[in-house]
Symmetry: D2
Subunit: 150 residues, 4 copies
């Protein structure tokens, strides 16, 4: 017997968070483009809002559960400049969830043209108050597992 | 009778701390000059080094004596632009010491020409761990009193 | 004869622009509150969006009309701390429009409680490409005049 | 016959530039440690001073020779936290010089203990005013070649 549902049983989950931001003077350097360190600031905003969008407030994780995600590694590719007053889109997703680490990925595009401006990765340890590697609480681990984008 | 010493009895105390810093890309905006908020960062470095020069490590004040100097007010006059790769001099001094506040002043000049780039003032509360106004320890109060520049 | 309308003939124009922003790690210092220089960055975003809201893109002013608003002066009062992950509201308005300068004012409040966090003023010159004082184009002068908040 | 000089004929060229910097409030985040994006700012200062130490002023390269080194890629490993008021050493060297790119490397250590805080790499294109890949002038290419640290 033929089950048509089977053809649709592979559900593609795309879980990411997008936010737009306007490039200010503060973001630029004397070339008139975003200073290369400032993408990491945008990535941080992306991480926090990605988690908030899943229902997790990172501040509570720190202050109530005493779990921290310090950066272990960052990597940025600068593909095209973003200029003053450009509107850019920051897309954030989690690509890997390990025993005591997680990896976020980011794409930054120009809203007007869709052109890719930068691409980044940050790897974070999961640590406790003593800065020792620790496991994520089971419910948070599940939640993130279901929202991975490989 | 004539007392020649009288002519020298007005002792002018000039107590300030100078440091030089080179303008980096990070400091500039798309006009190629120092972004206006970044002078407050230089002022902070000036305050800390001014105190260190008096023998006071501000970090110890916070961590050991539990005394903090949060900013109550800042004022900056932007007089001339400082450009990328210019060497600037930051001069810091304390102009006022009150019961539970102190006022720092700053002059920023171009090293090459001596031209005045910016002038600033920051007013700080003296507070304890509960963020309540508190008196400076007597020895620190004395030390700063002797190093005021009105 | 009594004209009741007269009592309402004084139209109070309140022209301001509000935007909300979430405090990120990048904005904080080791006290867990917004670093005192970073309010000036928020003020800059406020100015640009205030103007955009009036239909004026500041980037076009610079790139097409060759008119610039360099900061001449800034003043900030720090009234209460804003903490990590707090949502704050930045209110921007223009309080003075002179021959070759304008003054912006800003109020920063906590969205949740409405508490006033900081208050600021920035004074800007109106200059041309040679950095000489210049008049605003008449249409822009009119537009801003109608949107002043004394 | 034995030539003792032979033992010294392998000249180890170590060409790097070191500078020390004190961690300010401005550099920290609410964990009390250097905010992860700020290492890229230190790297930029390292690059400029490395070149200046070779006799090359990067500003002149841009303004006189119209050669620019925009970042193509950055990579940072965060190995240990650097705290407020710590003195850190930034070591900069060039590890690769290609046809139209160069790679800088950086080590950041605590001055007191020598502990490694962070390690980084930045890859830069060599471009002209039109942002097209270009060759370094021969004399600069030679100079850098002689000061590579693999």
């Amino acid at each position: 017997m033929f089950h048509v549902e089977a053809y649709f049983s592979i559900i593609v989950l795309m879980s990411y968070y997008d936010f737009d931001v306007r490039i200010a003077y503060a973001d630029t350097d004397r070339m008139g483009v975003v200073y290369y360190a400032n993408y990491l600031v945008l990535f941080e905003r992306g991480r926090t809002e990605f988690l908030r969008n899943l229902g997790v407030r990172y501040r509570d994780l720190e202050e109530k559960q005493r779990i921290f995600f310090p950066a272990m590694e960052s990597h940025v590719e600068y593909l095209a400049p973003a200029h003053y007053d450009d509107l850019i889109k920051v897309r954030t997703y989690i690509s890997e969830l390990g025993g005591a680490h997680l990896i976020f990925k980011y794409d930054i595009t120009l809203v007007e043209s869709g052109a890719l401006v930068a691409r980044g990765t940050t790897k974070h340890a999961v640590v406790n108050l003593l800065w020792r590697p620790t496991r994520l609480p089971a419910d948070l681990h599940d939640l993130i597992s279901k929202n991975l984008t490989k």
